[in-house]
């Protein structure tokens, strides 16, 4: 049976209160807060986070593909899914593909994964969706958007946690929300038109089509997971479809995260699965240039999957308040911070490629002769000097503790002037490494502090974005 084997989510640590945005502009606040990716995060790093959450306790050997969906990828030409797959430490013999341009890109990838496992070309496919869209400063979208990622492992197995029973899609050509190839911010047509003839009409068609195809009525559905640009639009749609807004509607996650683009429908599905019981029937629908609807049946396996996943619930409760709207502008690159010390060691495509196993996969070398493990990979063992006699071990999912640190005021940039630089001791072998700490309050760093690894965008150099690992206090 084809379905969901596992799920994962990621919500950045930083939250900006909408009152702070409103205060900066002297405008009205819609209340609550939105998530904001750190200045070293992008949709690729967020997708890697969600993928790790999804694969916690799940073997990587049967993952035959990775799909990545985003409308805000860091590259116009160069695949993101390969980078996400490599950082997630999937084997190279997999199918990868990027989905983009549409708010439905997340569910498009979800459906493609389903087709692949049903068709038999893959045993399982990891679907990641991640977005960081920008609303114009002072616009409603600036308040209503948020940054987040979701991941699903879709497989064909005897016991999926959720069986995908059917789907229905509508394609619709319309300028409702869009960005031209040169646009930074999301443009839109008049709200009343796009909600009525874009969102509501298409979602209704896709959902009614699916219900009719499956012979279901609204009361057969335990939870309707309806992506929506606003809570009001969601309730209007639910009324028209005959769902009880109080009991049947999945929270749109707007008040506490914000609309996270093509990741959002999947993020809501994660939140729904966290509360789901075996036997529940779920309806998932996403919107963007048409609509996709899916019918899902929750099985007994869900209880196993819910353990060991941070998901929406875990990442929602782990948060810090971004100190100001100005900081948001700077993290988004809309205000240019004064750069710190220049980067002098420029990357080269050749070295990045040769070093991918330790730099992107975060592999250490474990000597087969004496057992000593070192990071980065050393061909000749530091202890016994055996040559090329090692196995590679993944450090990215290992916990560590701060061994020593400094709070460096030279290494940062003007919006984050103090950079904690740490030496960490892994709770694995005797492995040590020097690593920058992110997502923390520098004054809270101490020796012995438990940390975990997080994949981040380090800097732009030689015309490339360069990614590596940092550590952060455990979330």
């Amino acid at each position: 049976m084809a379905g969901i084997i596992s799920y994962g989510a990621y919500i950045p640590l930083w939250r900006l209160s909408r009152d702070a945005i409103a205060e900066a502009w002297g405008s009205g606040s819609t209340g609550g807060e939105r998530s904001v990716a750190n200045n070293d995060e992008d949709v690729v790093t967020m997708a890697v986070e969600a993928a790790f959450d999804c694969l916690n306790g799940v073997g990587r050997e049967n993952v035959d593909g990775l799909y990545f969906a985003s409308t805000t990828p860091p590259f116009k030409e160069k695949e993101c899914s390969t980078l996400v797959a490599t950082a997630t430490d999937l084997k190279p013999e997999i199918v990868t593909a990027d989905y983009g341009n549409s708010l439905r890109a997340g569910t498009a990838a979800f459906r493609a994964a389903l087709d692949a496992v049903v068709g038999g070309s893959a045993r399982s496919v990891l679907v990641t969706a991640s977005d960081c869209r920008l609303g114009y400063p002072r616009s409603n979208y600036e308040q209503s958007f948020g940054d987040a990622a979701a991941a699903f492992l879709i497989g064909n197995t005897t016991k999926p946690a959720v069986i995908i029973e059917g789907s229905y899609s509508i394609s619709n050509e319309l300028y409702d929300v869009w960005r031209l190839d040169k646009d930074t911010y999301v443009q839109s047509w008049e709200d009343r038109f796009i909600i009525e003839h874009g969102y509501t009409e298409n979602m209704e068609k896709a959902i009614s089509g699916l219900m009719k195809k499956k012979g279901l009525s609204p009361k057969d559905i335990t939870k309707a997971i309806l992506y929506a640009p606003t809570a009001r639009a969601q309730q209007g749609l639910a009324r028209r479809l005959g769902f009880d807004a109080k009991t049947q509607l999945q929270d749109p996650l707007i008040s506490n995260i914000g609309v996270s683009g093509c990741a959002h429908a999947l993020l809501m599905l994660v939140a729904a699965l966290e509360e789901a019981n075996p036997g529940d029937k779920l309806l998932l629908a996403s919107y963007g240039s048409g609509a996709d609807a899916f019918l899902l049946q929750v099985t007994d396996e869900i209880e196993k999957i819910n353990e060991g996943r941070r998901g929406v619930k875990g990442f929602l409760s782990s948060k810090k308040a971004l100190p100001s709207y100005t900081r948001y502008l700077s993290y988004k690159g809309l205000l240019e911070p004064q750069p710190g010390e220049p980067f002098r060691l420029f990357p080269a495509a050749t070295t990045s490629w040769r070093e991918r196993d330790w730099a992107i996969r975060m592999h250490a070398s474990k000597c087969r002769n004496c057992g000593l493990t070192t990071f980065p990979i050393e061909r000749v063992c530091y202890s016994c000097r055996s040559k090329d006699n090692y196995e590679e071990v993944r450090l990215s999912d290992k916990k560590a503790k701060v061994f020593t640190y400094t709070l460096d005021n030279l290494a940062g940039r003007s919006d984050d002037p103090t950079i904690p630089q740490t030496e960490v001791a892994f709770e694995f072998g005797d492995v040590r490494t020097y690593i920058l700490m992110t997502d923390c309050e520098p004054k809270e760093v101490s020796i012995g502090m438990p940390v975990e690894m997080t994949f981040r965008r380090m800097y732009e150099g030689a015309g490339m974005y360069n990614y590596f690992w940092k550590c952060r206090p455990i979330r």
Binding site: E341, L372, T406, A411, I419
Partner: protein
């Protein structure tokens, strides 16, 4: 293995004024130290048979030692450019000494120089090390700040106590430097000033960090048997040790951040060659690598001046002050001279040379009864260290 002890001697040295030499190019700096050394040794430049030139940043690539040959007009002799991070000057000296000791040359020039103040930023910059991503934001204060944090933690010094302890080193070195005309900084500072200074890389504040300077230093090396032909007070090389370690300290499995093998090994080599068994008692003056005050504190222990974990007691008792049992950084150290990387090891050796001859600039700084002196550089990530022991009497100790 043979020892270098008493095989070669320094018969002339020169040292430029260190500082923000906005008006001086690297050429001007090398001319300044080289011609002082020629004059001190009483030689003519045409007497030089070979040259070792230590520099790290000038230029970045592909120049050999030609940019030393040109300003000094050294024609047709072998010249070697040496680079080994912070120990570059010592490495140039070590290679020159062994070349003279083997009998190949009768007179060689060693020169170290660095022009740092054309870079447009105050420190050595971020992004040191080998990998653009692994060490993209590593800085020198950050690296040595991590040593201080671990030292404080291991020996139970609270943040304030730790800061006061290393702060006293800054006060001492500034006091010494105030009497050294060639130093970059010649201002005395109080402990209160040190503790209130802005933080550069916690726990290191501004006065815990050495400055960034331009400078150059030079030495003329001859076989020991010829030394008295040049002067009555030649200074003999007693031992020179040098060590690299294989991995960056941060990548060494189980490394404790308090026992840097490169320092311990380089000191051991130099002590063994010189016949030193108790450095705390036998060394009369030392100029060591105080790139940061925390570095000097840890060096007291690694060089065998203080027992492990007891540096604080010696700092508090004034043991390393000019009037103490073992004056350290009698010229103000890197704290006051700054660290023009390639020059530093030779500048330190210049201070030992002058102290042993009784010719320290400004007599109030001259130490009494100095027979053996030590210079030390330690650096890179850190991953390299060098130690030179010098004496004024053949056969001692």
């Amino acid at each position: 293995m043979e020892s270098i002890k008493d095989k070669v001697a320094i018969v002339g040295m020169g040292c430029s004024k260190f500082g923000e030499r906005w008006d001086a190019s690297i050429d001007d700096l090398v001319i300044e130290s080289a011609y002082e050394a020629y004059e001190d040794a009483g030689i003519d430049p045409k007497d030089i048979q070979a040259c070792w030139y230590g520099t790290v940043t000038q230029p970045l690539i592909g120049d050999g030692a030609t940019h030393l040959a040109r300003p000094l007009k050294l024609h047709g002799i072998p010249m070697t450019r040496v680079e080994a991070w912070c120990i570059t000057g010592h490495e140039a000296l070590r290679n020159a000494c062994f070349a003279v000791a083997c009998g190949m040359y009768d007179l060689v020039l060693v020169l170290g120089a660095e022009k740092l103040k054309d870079t447009g930023f105050p420190g050595l910059g971020a992004g040191r090390g080998m990998s653009p991503v692994l060490e993209a934001r590593r800085t020198a204060p950050g690296s040595f700040g991590m040593i201080a944090t671990r030292y404080f933690y291991t020996y139970g010094l609270g943040p304030e106590e730790g800061k006061r302890t290393i702060g006293k080193i800054a006060v001492k070195n500034h006091y010494n430097g105030s009497m050294c005309p060639k130093a970059h900084f010649r201002n005395k500072v109080t402990l209160e000033q040190v503790l209130k200074a802005p933080i550069i890389a916690w726990p290191l504040g501004l006065f815990d960090c050495c400055g960034n300077s331009d400078g150059s230093a030079a030495a003329i090396i001859v076989p020991a048997k010829d030394a008295r032909k040049y002067r009555d007070d030649p200074i003999y090389i007693k031992g020179i040790g040098s060590a690299h370690v294989a991995l960056l300290p941060q990548n060494c499995p189980s490394f404790d951040w308090l026992h840097f093998e490169e320092v311990i090994n380089s000191a051991h080599q130099a002590y063994e060659q010189a016949g030193i068994t108790n450095p705390r008692e036998q060394i009369d003056v030392a100029v060591v690598h105080d790139c940061f005050t925390s570095t000097e504190m840890l060096l007291y222990e690694m060089l065998g001046f203080s027992p492990e974990g007891k540096a604080k007691e010696d700092i508090d008792s004034g043991f390393f002050e000019l009037t103490g049992g073992l004056p350290v950084n009698s010229d103000g150290g890197l704290k006051c001279f700054g660290h023009p990387v390639g020059a530093s090891g030779i500048r330190m050796t210049y201070e030992i040379y002058k102290q042993l001859q009784g010719k320290a600039q400004l007599p109030e700084r001259q130490l009494k009864d100095v027979r053996l002196g030590l210079s030390n550089t330690f650096g890179g990530p850190p991953q390299v260290s060098a130690v030179a022991v010098l004496g004024k009497e053949p056969g001692y100790p």
